[in-house]
Amino acid sequence: MRTLTASRGSELRPTAAATRPAVQITHLRKTYGPLVAVDDVSLSVAEGEIFGILGPNGAGKTTAVECAVGLREPDAGTVRLLGLDPRADRDEVHEIVGVQLQASAFPAKLRVGEILEEYRSFYRDPADTGELVEALGLAGKRRDYYRSLSGGQRQRLSVALALIGRPRIAVLDEMTTGLDPQARRDAWELIERVRDRGMTVVLVTHFMEEAERLCDRVALIDHGRIVALDTPVGLAAQARGGKTVRFVPSAPFEDRLLTGLPGVTRVEHQGQHVVVTGTGELVNELILALHTVGVTARDVQLDASNLEDAFVRLTRNGTQLHQEKNGEPS
């Protein structure tokens, strides 16, 4: 027994070292006056993982990543990037972390190529500029002034600059906001490629499709707190709690008729549609119940739950919880 434990322990040690988290955030808290922007956030991102941070506007996503990269000082909690403290070890951290900020600009009268060359010179072992601009569709823009770039092109340049130092961790804050669908897909491919070379990616986004396509795991943040943390598929399943059925009733009826059914968890009205959430043989039960009061259901749709539903459900639950805590009616 003792030998078994010992051998297991020695087996574990190298494994634990190999899976040292790229990002380790523990009980992070940041307030601006009375506003709690980030409230007790803990998460851990493994090396080589693409980790999504999802949440509605103003949820505290940006504040959280700005604390993580050392741009802001947290009020409480710790951040470790490959074991380094982003503020105390800032010099080391700047070498291994590439950042794309939401609001950053470059001098209007510099050319794209000149900005890239400048940032490239900051790093010891930089990436190949040609490959980056090619992947991001900026190859034809190298001689253009920054001020002549469209919003999407500026965004892509910003992504290129975050990756140009070949960082071990890339932190991208709304990387694809403002990009057209094709450019977005190109950016996703690039992220998958750099991850395949071992880069860890922390991605702040509010595009569900992006999170579903790219992320190994997603943290859903609302009101500064993590309300869910799982794989995109896991999150969608968590939120499912059943199916959603939409239909148009032939005549008005009392909600009680449906909320009283054992499998139903929620009844909502959206214009002429009624949306019922629940489990089990939902459609059959609904139709039978409606039949008893002489109502028929038209345009019946059974929605498959996805990450977007998870987002809406979980953040709305968060809102409700939040309001209840503050004594407001939900």
Binding site: L71, F106, P107, E118, Y119, S121
Partner: protein, 258 residues
């Protein structure tokens, strides 16, 4: 590899050269600083040189011509206009637009941009000084500066004092608009006391007394004396050094990167 990297974290030296190159490109592509800081002072020199009255020695001016009097004043003008208007502007704009914030996430300290700005502006100032002296000597037969050592020291101190003031403006101003206001507030009085509008020799003594304790007034005295062959007296040099240190301290204390 990674241990080696962690042991010596600091941006490659070549990065500074790249930043200077880009700042120089920006100065060239947004040439207002070059046009005003070098072009306007040269133009004034040529105009004054072309007016024959200006080139006649006058007993009121201690045997010098108005043209001679204006050479150090135009040098002070070039330094003043570059340091007070074309130094703080871009720095405040960089802070406003997030350029400095973005830089602060790279291995390069944001202060390198500041240093690059200094380097580019100082180069423009030296070019302005050389052109003003060169054109006045070659084109209008002005005397060649007789005390080059004193001249170099005076110009260097003037640049240091005016940079410190310009940087304090960049530190105090939150927006480019505010920077422009503060710049005007500093620029016009300083230019007045340098004698740009009326040479101090033609004003009552109290004006000269005030002028001697302003940075550009002190610069004009020190540069003028060096050109006439004396090593400048201690007073104007100390005045400029005091401005450099005092405002340098303020700038360092209050400059915000975000």
């Amino acid at each position: 590899m990674s241990l080696h990297m962690l042991a010596r974290p600091r941006a490659p030296r070549a990065a500074f050269g790249q930043i200077v190159r880009n700042e120089a490109r920006l100065a060239w592509r947004q040439p207002a600083g070059i046009i005003v800081g070098i072009g306007v002072s040269l133009l004034l020199l040529v105009i004054f040189g072309s007016i024959s009255v200006f080139r006649q020695p006058s007993s009121k001016l201690g045997g010098l011509s108005a043209f001679d009097i204006y050479i150090p004043i135009l040098i002070a003008f070039s330094i003043g206009v570059l340091a007070l208007t074309y130094l703080p502007g871009p720095l405040v704009a960089y802070r406003e637009q997030g350029v400095l914030r973005r830089l602060s996430t790279t291995p390069v300290p944001a202060s390198w941009v500041l240093a690059a700005q200094f380097a580019v502006q100082a180069c423009l100032m030296v070019i302005a000084v050389l052109l003003l002296i060169g054109v006045s000597v070659v084109g209008y037969g002005a005397i060649t500066p007789r005390n080059p050592g004193g001249l170099v020291l005076s110009v260097a101190l003037a640049i240091a004092a005016l940079f410190a003031i310009g940087l304090s403006i960049a530190a105090a101003a939150r927006t480019t608009g505010a920077a422009r206001g503060l710049m005007a507030l500093a620029f016009y009085p300083l230019m007045f006391f340098s004698g740009l509008y009326v040479p101090m020799q033609m004003l009552p003594g109290v004006f000269q007394d005030v002028s001697h304790v302003t940075p550009l007034g002190a610069a004009v005295v020190a540069i003028g004396d060096s050109m006439l062959g004396q090593f400048p007296p201690a007073e104007p040099l100390l005045v400029m050094a005091a401005y450099a240190l005092g405002f340098g301290y303020l700038a360092k204390r209050f400059f915000r990167w975000e």
